[in-house]
């Protein structure tokens, strides 16, 4: 081992070497042609191909939804490729390749994946799941002028200020909107007491904020609230706490499927039967409401924006048939189990196709312009009345929510008054 004097001397050498090297190499690296404001093609696009990238959690606790964000999109794109490719506004037909990587919901890994894919010349980064991972990528994407769009997250931050972050856009109605929709329904009822159970993060916070914004000044009163960590093994004690309030309604902003089922079973086992409000991502009848015996409650509401391909209620639907067929071929190997994210990311593929059709130049700027000009587009798998509008720079691509009510097997229009 070297002694300290040696170490000092060596540091001196290092410094000298560093300066010399700087002088020799002239410290410049080829500037990358980002953004592509001129007519020159952006990276990742040729006359026949376009490459997209996505980094989502494909392992770990959030891997179920994460895999679906890849599987649905991959299904749509591969089906399109198989049918001859996608038509672009510049007159070319291109096949679209999707590169996907696992980030385990870790922001540092997500940034690494993003940078790697940009290095490998993806044209755009699309449809990634996860608030912290996307938050870490956001400034880089905007600095490098790489589209980071149609993100599968309901956090408001990705869509609310698109003038400041012109290369970023969310896909889904925000959690805030979902919460507000529930609040509005209750306000019409008049005097109601509500208990709120919310995940202790932006998901829960946005949800509750939307709900509270809707009930402000009304006769709806929040009489109890509790939070939980996504890592909690059970929410029994939270439900016990809330049940003590005996509220008329429970807003259960729980994003973890087993926990949501646990909430439904626990509340009724305590003899507490409020009206239940479930968020869109944990309201699937087959995996949540039926196992949780939701029929025991006077009413179970949710918001929905997409058809449920795994539900018999939609078995005859044309979109669903096409989706199921394509998914079996392309997506099933990526996501073993259905979550709504599969349907959402499939619709996202169609939105991308719309944008491609509007692209007049093979550039990222042209892509963003086209993506921002979609109006009243009815994407496949989206429910009637839910449309894609991208022209408002403060909103995500999909707006509008349908309030729905559980009818014993699936969801139908709200009936109770």
């Amino acid at each position: 081992m070297m002694n300290f004097r040696n170490a000092t001397r060596i540091s001196g050498v290092v410094a000298t070497g560093a300066i010399a090297a700087l002088l020799i190499t002239g410290c410049s690296r080829g500037e990358e042609g980002d953004g592509g404001t001129g007519g020159e093609a952006s990276p990742g696009i040729t006359d026949t191909t376009l490459s997209l990238g996505i980094s989502s959690p494909l392992s770990g606790p959030t891997a179920g939804p994460g895999s679906c964000t890849v599987a649905g999109l991959y299904t749509y794109l591969e089906a399109g490729n198989a049918a001859g490719g996608f038509e672009f506004g510049d007159g070319n037909t291109r096949t679209v390749e999707l590169t996907y990587l696992d980030d385990v919901y870790d922001p540092a890994k997500a940034v690494a994946n993003f940078r790697q894919m940009v290095d490998d010349e993806i044209f755009a980064y699309v449809g990634a799941l996860g608030t912290p991972t996307n938050a870490a990528i956001l400034p880089i994407a905007n600095e490098e002028e790489v589209p980071q769009v149609l993100l599968v997250t309901g956090a408001t931050m990705f869509s609310s200020d698109q003038d400041a972050n012109p290369w970023t856009m969310g896909l889904l109605p925000t959690y805030f909107d979902e919460g507000r929709a529930f609040g509005e329904l209750l306000v019409e009822r008049g005097e109601v007491t509500v208990a709120i159970l919310a995940q202790n993060d932006d998901y829960g916070d946005d949800y509750v904020a939307g709900f509270e914004a809707a009930i402000e000044g009304s006769d709806v009163e929040v009489v109890a609230s509790a939070t939980y960590e996504p890592s909690d093994p059970t929410l029994d004690s939270q439900v016990t706490e809330l049940a003590a309030s005996g509220a008329d309604a429970l807003l259960s902003a729980v994003s973890v499927t087993p926990l949501q089922v646990g909430v439904l079973t626990k509340a009724q086992s305590l003899g507490w039967l409020p009206e239940i409000f479930l968020p869109s991502n944990t309201s699937t009848p087959a995996t949540v409401v039926v196992p949780g015996n939701g029929a025991a409650y006077p009413a179970v509401y949710s918001t929905s924006l997409s058809k449920v391909p795994v539900s018999p209620a939609f078995a005859e639907d044309e979109d669903v048939i096409a989706y199921n067929e394509a998914f079996a071929e392309y997506g099933a190997g990526i996501a073993a189990t259905y979550t709504p994210h599969c349907a959402w990311s499939y619709a996202e593929g169609a939105i991308l196709e719309q944008a491609f059709a509007g692209m007049t130049e093979p550039t990222r700027a042209s892509f963003m312009e086209a993506l921002r000009s979609i109006e009243d587009f009815q994407a496949p798998l989206l429910l009637d009345g839910i449309t894609v509008n991208t022209t408002d720079p403060t909103l995500p691509a999909i707006q509008g929510l349908n309030l729905v009510q559980f009818n014993g097997t699936g969801y139908g229009p709200v009936t109770a008054g």
């Binding site: 392992s59 891997a63 179920g64 895999s67 202790n200 960590e229 004690s237 706490e241 499927t257 015996n293």
Partner: protein
């Protein structure tokens, strides 16, 4: 008052989940002197076997039995093939080996079943008993009863049988145990096999509530470790009592102390654990080890 009792009951039920896995940790520690981070992973893979058997049409009892057999073989196999070369080496390396198994087993489970949680049927049904305004679910009761039975069986094994005695001897001093003719290699395999069985029992007990997924026991494992250590690491009864204690104290603190709330209640059992350990380093039920120099 009813609310208080209800919270205590919930705490006991939640604590039972931690306790089930803590028992497996105690057993491995007793049998091999190791802490096994893969305990949860082994339990999950075995629980998936029960899930697969059940979905293939086997009756639940048979599916669980099949999973128990599988778990024993899995535990013995992992000990023999993967852990064995590292048992006498650097303890840090051995722990990292169990971390590697934990990651690998999770990956294997995900390869076959994906990450999305899957429903698992309960042995005890969904009914709830109303005892004077306090609600107790059959499932919680069943879990507690099974745990109690397992603790008794384990005490009998360790205190009353030659096998148990031999396992303790091997865990403590394998070299001397071998000199007395104890088949160390086989005993270590049996120890891991039994611990793995306890793991799958924990798995099928909690699966109806947590669902089966590769990560279902990740956080439970942390609580279970805390319970095992608080209980003294070599006492099955201690581990379960400590697990109940953790479940109850967490609930009460979350509900009654506003500044703690639901988000920080997880800190309470750990802080209590730290305080107890500092006062009583051998844990609540661990035997005092006399240090001679």
């Amino acid at each position: 008052m009813e609310y208080f009792i209800q919270l205590v009951i919930e705490g006991l039920a939640t604590g039972s989940i931690y306790g089930a896995l803590a028992l497996a940790i105690v057993l491995v520690n007793r049998a091999t002197g190791l802490i096994n981070f893969a305990q949860g992973g082994m339990a999950v893979v075995s629980t998936f076997v029960a899930y697969a058997l059940f979905n293939a049409g086997a009756p639940l009892a048979l599916a669980i039995l099949g999973a128990i057999v599988f778990a024993f073989v899995l535990g013995a196999f992992l000990e023999r093939v993967i852990v064995r070369p590292f048992e006498r080496g650097d303890p840090d390396t051995a722990v990292v080996v169990t971390i590697g198994m934990f990651v690998l087993l999770g990956g294997i489970a995900a390869f076959f079943f994906g990450y999305e949680p899957r429903q698992f049927p309960s042995f005890f049904g969904l009914e709830t008993l109303n005892l004077g305004g306090v609600f107790v679910s059959l499932r919680s009761l069943g879990t507690i009863v099974v745990l109690a039975v397992v603790v008794v069986l384990l005490q009998l094994l360790f205190r009353g049988t030659k096998l148990g005695l031999a396992m303790r001897a091997v865990a403590d001093n394998p070299e001397s145990a071998a000199l007395s003719g104890l088949p160390v290699s086989r005993l270590l395999m049996i120890g891991w096999g039994l611990a793995s069985v306890l793991g799958v029992i924990a798995g099928v007990l909690v699966a109806p509530q947590l669902f089966v997924s590769p990560g279902m026991l990740d956080f439970v494992l942390v609580y279970a470790l805390a319970a095992a250590i608080l209980g003294g690491l070599d006492s099955p009864l201690g581990a379960v009592v400590a697990a109940w204690f953790i479940g109850v104290i967490e609930n009460l603190a979350g509900a009654y102390i506003d500044v703690i709330g639901n988000d920080l209640k997880i800190a309470v059992p750990f802080i209590v654990m730290i305080v107890i350990l500092i006062v009583r380093p051998q844990g609540l039920f661990g035997r005092k080890v006399v240090v001679r120099v």
